[in-house]
């Protein structure tokens, strides 16, 4: 079995782990980051894409609100290329508590958020599809952030500073010598080969799965997975983030993300963080809830539904919590040496995507203290790869790029304007074991056709270039069709049901994918 040595082993390749890797690498530590799958496949890749202004937590969880507000400002500088500056609105509908907006305004100001009340007519001018019955409207600095792009940029940055990243490497054993964690044994999920990583410090950044990772080290972390359901609509019904101005509830945020918009979310405690199958009633609840913000929402074209598991960490040790929304959105860094007498292991849990940088800073502060190396955090000012010019991403960027492309660089995905050259660039620098890995990098298969036209092209091109052998190409295509169906089957009505028929016509009728040899 091969052995790799590193200063910091980070378990979990979501936003938290990638943030820790970036922060550690910038401080000059040698980092190895591992994930059981591709990066950002857990909670990070399954959220609505909201860069919080803090408004959502202003009344109920002021410390979270304050953190969001300040991290929002930092990320807009260092991760501009991953962010679309959509701005956000909080609107009060007649069914909402009409006392709430004043409390909201006071709390936002208390949390040092940028907030401005605007006339209802102005809000309706900005967002013409908005419910005309809204009674008040506030402008905040919400944004839309691309989780895959962010995680990918964090990891590329970390790698440029010497970090090693190992996707599809699952921790099968935590190596413990007496009361000290010394690393982990990993199994490559693609080949079955094992490798040992020895580390001076191990960071458990497995989010909703951090309880499972801690258990491998003989420690207990009472993380409570909170399932949140989301539905993507095939175009942008709003150009800014639209929030209901009330105490956070279900289906009260609509976030424009790239070519679509996403409504979220629910919040139910689940025992297993891998339990991410939305129930039909949860989806209908989202579609009905959208009506309060955008009348007719229910009849718009939903392209897909999915759920993610929030890594909630109750401050009080265990004990039943009736409503997940009572749990703070702040994060905690747990020192297992102090807490459980197990040295060499730190767990970071709780928190949210918007505060990923702060979580990483707090975690690596503890790691450097433990290693006895006083190294200052640099992530507040160091831009991520791609964000050096501090220019925000804009929804027209892909069109601009497509128009500038070489004439012999054909589009392989018309929905998301992905060219063959884009595909080459991505497979050269990140895992492409599954077509889903490529989807996370390029958004192929995320538009209205959900892979009906592009999946076959990607599999065929990668096979022709000998990145996939024949069985791999067939498997990759079949798996992708199966994976897309997971989210499509839940929204099979209206035009998406019709689209599903066209896709079946192609996969079953034209290709006979079902009867392809293994």
């Amino acid at each position: 079995m091969a052995t790799l040595d590193t200063d910091v082993l980070v378990i979990g390749g979501g936003s938290t782990g990638a943030g820790v890797a970036w922060d550690s690498a910038l401080r000059g530590l040698h980092v190895t980051l591992v994930d059981r799958q591709d990066f950002a496949t857990g909670t990070s890749g399954r959220f609505h894409g909201l860069l919080h202004s803090g408004g959502r937590y202003a009344v109920k969880d002021p410390s979270s609100a304050r953190e969001c507000a300040s991290e929002n400002r930092i990320l807009r500088q260092v991760a501009a290329d991953c962010i679309e500056d959509t701005g956000g609105l909080f609107v009060s509908v007649p069914e909402d508590d009409q006392e709430y907006p004043d409390r909201f305004l006071r709390s936002c100001r208390g949390a040092e958020m940028e907030v401005e009340e605007i006339p209802v007519a102005e809000a309706l001018r900005l967002e013409p599809l908005l419910n005309p019955r809204i009674t008040r409207a506030f402008r905040v600095s919400d944004g839309s952030i691309d989780s895959w792009k962010t995680v990918s940029a964090l990891l590329r940055g970390a790698q440029a500073h010497g970090a090693r990243v190992l996707p599809y490497h699952k921790v099968v054993r935590v190596v413990r010598q007496g009361d000290r964690v010394q690393g982990a044994v990993l199994e490559d999920q693609r080949t079955g080969e094992q490798v040992t990583v020895t580390a001076a410090c191990t960071v458990n950044a497995a989010g909703a799965w951090s309880g499972q990772v801690a258990a491998l080290a003989g420690c207990e972390v009472g993380v409570m997975p909170g399932k949140g359901v989301m539905v993507a609509i095939n175009h942008r019904l709003a150009n800014s983030v639209v929030n209901r101005c009330h105490l956070p509830g279900d289906g009260d945020i609509i976030v424009p993300v790239r070519t679509v918009c996403v409504i979220g979310t629910t919040d139910h405690p689940v025992a297993d963080p891998d339990d991410t199958e939305p129930r039909p009633e949860e989806i209908h609840q989202m579609m009905e809830a959208g009506e309060a913000l955008i009348p007719g929402f229910k009849y718009t074209r939903a392209v897909r539904a999915w759920a993610g598991s929030r890594p909630l960490l109750p401050k009080a040790k265990s004990g039943a919590v009736a409503d997940d929304r009572e749990v703070t959105r702040s994060h905690s860094v747990l020192d297992h040496e102090e807490r459980d007498g197990v040295a060499g292991l730190v767990t970071v849990a709780g928190g949210k995507f918007t505060t990923l940088r702060l979580m990483a800073e707090d975690t690596v502060d503890m790691v450097t203290r433990k290693l006895g190396r006083e190294l200052a955090c640099q992530t507040k000012t160091e831009p991520l790869p791609g964000s050096e010019s501090h220019r925000y991403y804009w929804v027209g960027n892909r069109q601009e790029e497509a128009e500038a492309d070489e004439p012999d660089d054909p589009l392989i995905c018309e929905c998301e304007l992905v060219s063959q050259q884009d595909l080459q660039t991505v497979v050269a620098r990140r895992p492409a074991w599954n077509l889903d890995d490529i989807r996370r990098a390029l958004r192929v298969g995320m538009g209205p056709c959900q892979g009906g036209f592009c999946a076959f092209r990607v599999a065929g091109i990668l096979h022709a270039q000998q990145r996939y052998d024949r069985p791999e190409a067939n498997r990759a295509l079949r798996d992708f069709v199966q994976e897309r169906w997971k989210g499509v089957k839940l929204v099979s009505w209206g035009h998406q049901a019709r689209q599903d028929r066209l896709d079946r016509w192609i996969f079953e009728g034209v290709y006979d994918l079902e009867h392809l040899p293994e």
């Binding site: 076959f456 096979h463 067939n474 295509l477 839940l490 009505w493 034209v510 290709y511 079902e514 009867h515």
Partner: protein
Amino acid sequence: MNPDVVVIGAGTAGMTAALRLSGTGATVLVLAEGEGALPLAPAQVDLLGYTPALVSEPLRELAPFLQERPWHPYRLVTPDEIEAALGWFADLAAPLGYVGSAQRNRLQPTALGALRPTCLVPETMASGDLSEGGEVLVVGLRGFRDFHAQLVAENLGQAHLASGAAVGARAVEVSLVGDPRDLRPQLLVRRLEQRAVLAQLAREIRTELGQETLIALPAVLGMERSHEVWQRLQELLGRPVFEIPTPPPSQPGQRLQQVLFRALRRQGGEVRLGAKATGFRGTGGRVESITVQLASREVQVSAGEFILASGGLGTGGVTVDPDGGLHEPVFDLPVTTAGAPGQPSAEYFATQPLDRLGVSVDSEMRPLGTGGEPLFTNLRAAGAVLGGAEPWREKSGEGISLATGFRAAAVITGGGG
């Protein structure tokens, strides 16, 4: 025009019924919401391919297949009618030189290299029946997104044939002269109709040609002049050439559409594209007229007889609302799920709740109400709007459309029943 018959839908079923009726002297108007469904389809005629076991003699295996599926639309027609409909179709589409029979399935390669059972194929695909094996050179066009020759060839090489014969396949990729941005099927067909471009393609292929006895290309060998292009390429290469259908827009489907539209016009019928039927007026169990949405206005179209051939869920013949309500949008006919499961299966290729949606009809092809009674004396339904089939999985779509379109016309002229 004051037609005797209005047909809603310009796919295989609608065009079959329209052509049959106009052939007997009736004036027929065909309306299609968009451009009709034919440009989506590979233009092969499937009758029955999987039950789910592979079918080799479709007409003979139909009876046991229907035994287990009392809801299936093939129950509305006899094997003789199916055979007659296929024979009629092959005659009518003579310019495309259809070959094959309802008695036996051919095995034709797909754009992924699976061997797919089907009954009739146009002449440009005729030599691609690999039931008895063969040595194939699969030719890809560099930069064409919808055909990957290497994958087709390797998958074909894995085929297990009942005959015990083997398929040998090798891939080559050739470049076409001209603007690489034109590598879309709609433009490729035009370029290959130019003699110089075709000659250049033949030269490129010839330098790569080995012992292979067959040459396969994506289905872009010309549009109106496909016969000439295909014939000429075979002459230049000295071996049989066949086309493999690619995803929509299907050029063979487009050719078939042109042939069928032209035939109807020759018989005095008319096709109106971009005309969406949205409702009807009627009294006492008769449809008087239908409401048709044109680009600029709405009109009422009256006729003596109406045929609903609007297709299934995929083409808007049936719709599903967010609450799961099922609708037939023109006549508000009841929609059946024909024994399909109530909940979606996690397995993509399993039977899904929406797979068999459609309307039910009596033996005279008249749509039925919830009580099982025919709703209108002068309305018939045919093709994919009929519930109960899983056409892509069974490989049965064109057979159902041809046979039920054929029958709908027959009951109107009094020849059926």
